[in-house]
């Protein structure tokens, strides 16, 4: 299992380094990726879009996301954007 700590903000202006980081996590991780969202407090559409693409690529590679410390606002954003299925935030 590999661990991915998400930052406090995932907003459009702070995302540039994130795409590469997430790609590296995708390549390096075995079957399960532990997504630590305990710090994550603020997201916008761009941030959720990145997470969505990451989750989709992970699924395509047969990998599983396990979320920790999800903030209700993040879950709510995922639902509003129609992403909670892909992000596997269902039931949180």
């Amino acid at each position: 299992m590999s661990h991915c700590q998400l930052p406090e903000d995932m907003l459009v202006d702070s995302l540039s380094p994130m795409a590469l980081t997430l790609e590296a996590v995708l390549v390096d991780s075995p079957d399960t990726i532990e997504m630590d969202a305990s710090l994550l407090e603020h997201v916008d559409t761009a941030g959720m879009q990145l997470l969505y693409a990451f989750a989709r690529d992970a699924r395509r590679d047969g990998k599983t996301l396990v979320w920790h410390g999800l903030n209700p606002q993040i879950v709510d954003a995922a639902r509003l954007l129609g992403m909670s299925g892909m992000l596997a935030m269902t039931g949180h």
């Binding site: 559409t45 954007l81 892909m86 992000l87 949180h92």
Partner: protein
Amino acid sequence: MDLTEFLAPFFEECFEMLQQMEGDLLALDGGDTSGMAERIGSIFRVAHSIKGGAGTFGFSRITEYTHKLEALLDAMRDGSRQMTPEAVRVLLETVDVLRDMLAAERDGTTANADEIERTLTIIRQMLNGESIAEPVSAPAQPAAVLAEDLPGEPEAVEAAMPDDAFEPVVAAPPFEESPLEDPPGWHVVFRPGDDIAGQGSDPLRILRELAQLGPVQTRVLDDDLPPVHSINPRRNYLGWAIALRADVPRDQVEDVFAWVMDQAEVSIEPLGAGVEPAPEADASVWGESPAEFVSAEPTPVPTPPARVGPDEVVRPGDVSPQAVAAPAQPAAKPTPAAPAPAPASASAPAQAPTVHAVPARAAAAAPGGDAGGSIRVGIDKVDAIIDLVGELVITQSMLGQFSEEVERDGFEVSMLQRLKDGLSQLERNTRELQENVMRIRMLPISVAFNRFPRLVHDLSRQLGKQIELKISGENTELDKTVLEKIGDPLVHLVRNALDHGLEPVDERRAAGKPDTGTLRLNAYHKGGNIIIEIGEDGRGINKARVLAKAREKGLVGADEQLSDDRIHELIFAPGFSTAEQVTDISGRGVGMDVVKRNIHALGGGLEIRSAEGKGTTFVIRLPLTLSIMDSQLVVVGEQTYILPLMSIVESLQIAPDFLSRVAGRAEVYKLREDYIPVIRLNRIFNIPARAVNERPLLVVIEGDGQKVGLMIDDLLGQQQVVIKSLETNFRRIEGLSGSTILGDGTVALILDIGGLFQMGRRLENRKGAAA
């Protein structure tokens, strides 16, 4: 893309699926509650698949209808609606409606709009809990737990449908409080430009604002989203299709998007107006889902979310093998984004999204359906033919080698045996090849039998009788053409058996029989024929009543005595019925003669076995195929004719004393106790009679419910002949049904028994008139 070539298979599959749905419903109706969940799941999948396919071809009415049906079935799957006998009845009616709608699309006709509306109204009522038993309490397990158990289960396949991607943001009121059918609301398709973030707008904020107006369900349109490493975070690649379930004016919805109208494509249409967000959006995502391989859906089309708990929605991610494990830490609770009319935790979303994905690629229906005729052949049958062709090639090379040896060394008597062996092997190969090629056209009789469970189910209710249907031999195969033509006669016989044969419960009790009557359908092969039996344990044919009725109608003389068989035969007389009361089901006195005539036209026969108080069985005998026939070769003058072996009762040498004329008209022959009319074939076909034939032969044939003697000069052998159409190769000739080519290359004509009867009668009438 031109989809027309896929239309025929689509219709074929739909009808097959409906058959399956009907079977599941009938099983449920029969009280078989084992595997209830699987059956409901299976029925749901039928509705879902038809919806998907119909959407692809642009059959929007079918899409809408199945969509509503699906909502009901979905509620049954999650337990909020129960599959009651009443529900089964309604669903059976929807099967009929769907068949009608599909046939209408296929044939370019119009479906029965009243029936569509009537059944839709009932579905709505059922969804609103108006005419169905109180729902059982919904399962309380969290979705994540259930989802883990789902892979491999039938429901899992369904739950993983791509169109489950709608996200209920704010849980809507439960079923009981909210009519599921087209509540007021709006379909919004929102596709922001790629620079929307640069313009200072955030779609998430807009969606939050929209959710303030009422419950929304959102589906992300991600067809343009690149892999994560290629993403430019400043660029937007996504779009959204949103169902807003709120009775708000359009202006209010437009206001939400007012700030981004110049940076986005926004369409706002009333819910249920047939507005469909693009379905392809999710294909790239769900295309990888194992469920897609399992379910083999023709096209991903939105469907109501598969509910597994009171307030959750199963999504593809929950059911794939890569499903996310439930978090070890306490999960955060979602909070409603906005004040909602109902508590977020209340219940499942009240309505399936009314968003359809129907590409506007309507394909023209091919009128006439499958009139062109195609047949699905099992690969085993094709393989068997390929094997036989291989054998044939080996035999050919063996004979070729033999021929070379003879050419080289000259023929010796010792070689004769080898030649004979080779030829008999060739004969065997040819025969087997012929049989196997014929098998390609063979279909199991279950194709015809499949309609009966439903028919029996419906009629037994209508008649107030308890009837159990037992089917056996349904895998017995027969020619596709024969199968298609036997369908209607079978239906008539079954209806007749249910209506006239089987007694009402009180009558059965009085006769000491069990309340439930049994109708048996059986099929088997016997001596190159297929035998179909339709039997019941009812009251049997009341011979006295049949005879009385026949005398009343003047079919039988007042003092005439008839054998049991002859009395039974009377029910095939045109216009004959002993039914005391004419019912909708049968009993109008038309039909039984038509049944018999149809079976005769197929070269078959129909017999009755009946015992009073014990029941009646109709036995249909049919040729396995219409293109090859067992035949008797007969000679008239110098011509060879072919008689279908099936129609021959017996052949005998004419005793001149038994040949006489009745009242100077018809020539008859005394056959034991009966007199049968005689037809001289040479007269009918104007063939010079043999100069000297002291003892001509009489072939007794049966057709149209009577026996006739055909006077011929000689009998040759019996053999199978391949029937060649006269119409195709020459023209139609009365008294002849076709032709064939004999082993010596000569053409022989096949006699048409029914036609001969008519010609014989006309000939005698003319003679009578002349006399």
